[in-house]
């Protein structure tokens, strides 16, 4: 096994181990980890078999096989940033709803407290 192949296998193996470990420790939710796991597996396959990489590259008409790897990496990053934009949009919508709900509940609570204070003054209501 040549040095380059060894390094490539080690690199993609490390990526997989890190992703799995993050999931195991609960630092990465499974639903966000699928893309990363997929990327790790694809990288591992291509780093163990240069033949496969060359085969696919030539089939696609790519002269320089490593540029196929770059292309894959580019698409992967594009996909994951798009995925993040979707997630962030969802989070900011939820964040807005929470803030609104909090403001409405504060006012309802204040109303309830003020209403009770008036009731106490008039001889009814519950004393704290």
């Amino acid at each position: 096994m040549d040095l380059l192949k060894f390094l490539a296998v080690m690199g993609s193996g490390a990526l997989l181990v890190i992703v799995v470990e993050l999931i195991r420790r609960g630092k990465l939710k499974e639903r966000y980890s699928l893309l990363w796991l997929f990327a790790g597996v694809v990288l591992l396959i291509f780093s163990t078999s240069r033949y496969l990489l060359e085969l696919i590259s030539h089939a696609l008409g790519i002269f320089y096989p490593p540029s196929f790897l770059f292309l894959l990496a580019f698409f992967f990053l594009l996909l994951i940033t798009l995925h993040f934009s979707v997630v962030i949009s969802g989070l900011s919508e939820k964040n807005k709803k929470l803030a609104q709900e909090l403001a409405l509940m504060r006012q309802d609570l204040k109303n309830a407290i003020d209403g009770n204070a008036i009731a106490i003054r008039d001889g009814a209501g519950e004393r704290p």
Binding site: K96, A99, Q100, L102, A103, L104, R106, Q107
Partner: protein, 231 residues
């Protein structure tokens, strides 16, 4: 009909007193609701001291999120009409009556107070005017009705529009975008001539470059709204 006046306010401790006082004087039958959009100053305290109801947002949501909080309140507390009225003092309380008339008579679901229906009444900076013209042109085509002041934040909504806004209200350019969404919901809109105060203190940071940038963003938002699913 119970009327709620939604007043979005962001750091308006100076002007909020006058706004509340005027609204009490000219629209005594309405409840005034201040939505404090995460102000750093004493907007909430000043408004509470005057006995107004205040919704205090924990942080700044921007005008869209703040106004929607008011619509949520109007929806949950069964108001028939909700009026949007700026907290900075540019809207005029005695004009509210004219604004709610189309809703009370059942002609429209949303009425919009327009500065430009009475020609020559309002002098906006030239680039602002140009921007408003372009939006008016595009919106008039889309909505199939003349819209002269699409960026006006002086509006009144009936129960149907309140219910819709409490569910979905645009965040980015809510005045313009909400018209497109209402149109897609087949709601009726009407413009009403309304005087407004011209801004006396600075703050108008509109430069040619910025206004072109702003217009592009709003136009894109309009076209995205046309593609959006609404229900």
């Amino acid at each position: 009909m119970n009327i709620l006046i939604i007043v979005p306010a962001f750091n308006e401790e100076e002007s909020i007193t006058g706004v509340i006082r005027d609204l009490r004087k000219y629209v005594p039958q309405a409840e005034v609701l201040i939505v404090d959009d995460g102000s750093a100053d004493a907007t909430t305290q000043v408004a509470r001291e005057m006995g107004a109801k205040v919704l205090e947002l924990p942080f700044n949501l921007g005008i869209g999120g703040a106004v929607q909080t008011g619509y949520l309140y109007a929806y949950q507390h069964d108001y028939d009409i909700a009026v949007q009225f700026d907290g900075d003092g540019q809207h005029i309380a005695s004009e509210v009556k004219k604004l709610i008339e189309p809703l009370e008579s059942g002609r429209a679901d949303l009425s919009i107070g327009s500065r430009f229906l009475n020609p020559g009444a309002y002098h906006a900076p030239i680039f602002r005017k140009l921007g408003i013209r372009i939006f008016s042109f595009v919106l008039s085509r889309i909505l199939g009705m003349a819209v002269t002041d699409s960026t006006s934040g002086f509006r009144a909504a009936n129960r149907r529009a309140i219910e819709f806004f409490s569910r979905s209200y645009p965040d980015d350019y809510p005045e313009v975008e909400s018209l497109v969404l209402l149109h897609k919901m087949n709601m009726r809109m009407e413009e009403v001539a309304a005087a407004m105060r011209e801004r006396t203190s600075g703050r108008s940071s509109i430069t040619p470059v910025r206004s072109v940038y702003y217009m592009t963003k709003v136009l894109m938002a309009i076209f995205i709204d046309l593609l959006k699913k609404v229900r």
